[in-house]
């Protein structure tokens, strides 16, 4: 169940994870992309963190919406509109429910629509989908998140920059999947899980 407190904590921890692992995320983006995913996400989350520090909204929908708008405008890569749309759809849904599974599910639907993508295309969707499936049945574990991230290595990319490599995209973890891995492990650290 999202609250103002745990949502702010989640975003703060996610920001820390992104900043700490910025170089690793960009390194993952080098063999199958343009090597900027860590830099992009760090720029976006720095903006989110600054704006939340400036004027912390007092309800969950407003926090999610502010996060969305900053990710959309500041990231500069595909991850911007994708994560931004995810948070925007979660913001809309949070007027109705604060349970995490349906919120993330609304976010995932937004990513799929925005990216014209579905599961199996070697994108962040391949982490969101199994994470949500597990949350719908019971508590999520950090191990399950890591497993989903690593499973993207075996996939052949058919969306995003990695898709230009065809067969050659196989054998590398998807950078967007890796950043989503941090999104979900920090969610657990913030105490947000199956209600």
């Amino acid at each position: 169940m999202l609250t103002v407190e745990n949502t702010l904590k989640w975003l703060a921890l996610f920001n820390q994870a992104i900043q700490t692992n910025q170089a690793q995320l960009s390194a993952l983006d080098t063999p199958i992309g343009d090597g900027d995913h860590g830099h992009n996400m760090a720029r976006g989350m720095t903006a989110v963190t600054e704006v939340l520090a400036d004027k912390a909204p007092t309800d969950v929908p407003a926090i999610l919406k502010l996060t969305a708008m900053n990710l959309i405008t500041k990231v500069g890569g595909a991850a911007g509109p994708l994560y931004g749309t995810a948070f925007l759809e979660m913001a809309k849904k949070s007027a109705e429910t604060l349970e995490i599974a349906p919120l993330l599910s609304a976010g995932l639907a937004g990513v799929e629509k925005r990216g014209h993508a579905t599961v199996g295309e070697k994108t962040l969707i391949d982490v969101w989908q199994p994470v949500i499936a597990q949350l719908e049945q019971g508590p999520l574990t950090a191990e399950a998140v890591t497993t989903a991230v690593e499973a993207t290595a075996a996939l052949r990319a058919t969306k995003g920059r990695a898709s230009y490599l065809g067969e050659r995209s196989i054998g590398h973890v998807d950078p967007g999947a890796a950043s989503s891995g941090y999104l979900f492990t920090t969610m657990l650290e913030a105490g947000i899980n199956h209600d």
């Binding site: 343009d34 992009n40 405008t73 500069g76 911007g80 509109p81 925005r114 969306k159 995003g160 920059r161």
Partner: protein
Amino acid sequence: MTDQSIGVLIVSHVPEIAAGLERLIREVAADVPLTIAGGTDDNGVGTSLTKIQAAIEANQADQLLAFYDLGSAKLNLELAQEFSDKTIHLYDVALIEGAYTASALLQADASLDMIEPQLADLKIK
């Protein structure tokens, strides 16, 4: 000479590509409303929703034919499309060749019905 209500919007990951393509098109379509959005806010390689929205607003036409280079530009273009009041037609065609063709035809007063079949031949995305 041209139907001023139809314009062209170019979105590229690189500021130089967007500016260079405008230069190429200006030689054959001096009167077509044409605006560009290239690169991130700090002119790095990437796209910027803010720049795209500014290019949409700056365009004198209220119906835009939009062209982009790589997929992530399309994601931002579609967001801008949802946020805008203008009618934005997005084409999954070769950026340079598509924007050039559409602009040359607009300059020659061609209607959208004449332009779209020619763009269909350039579809690659």
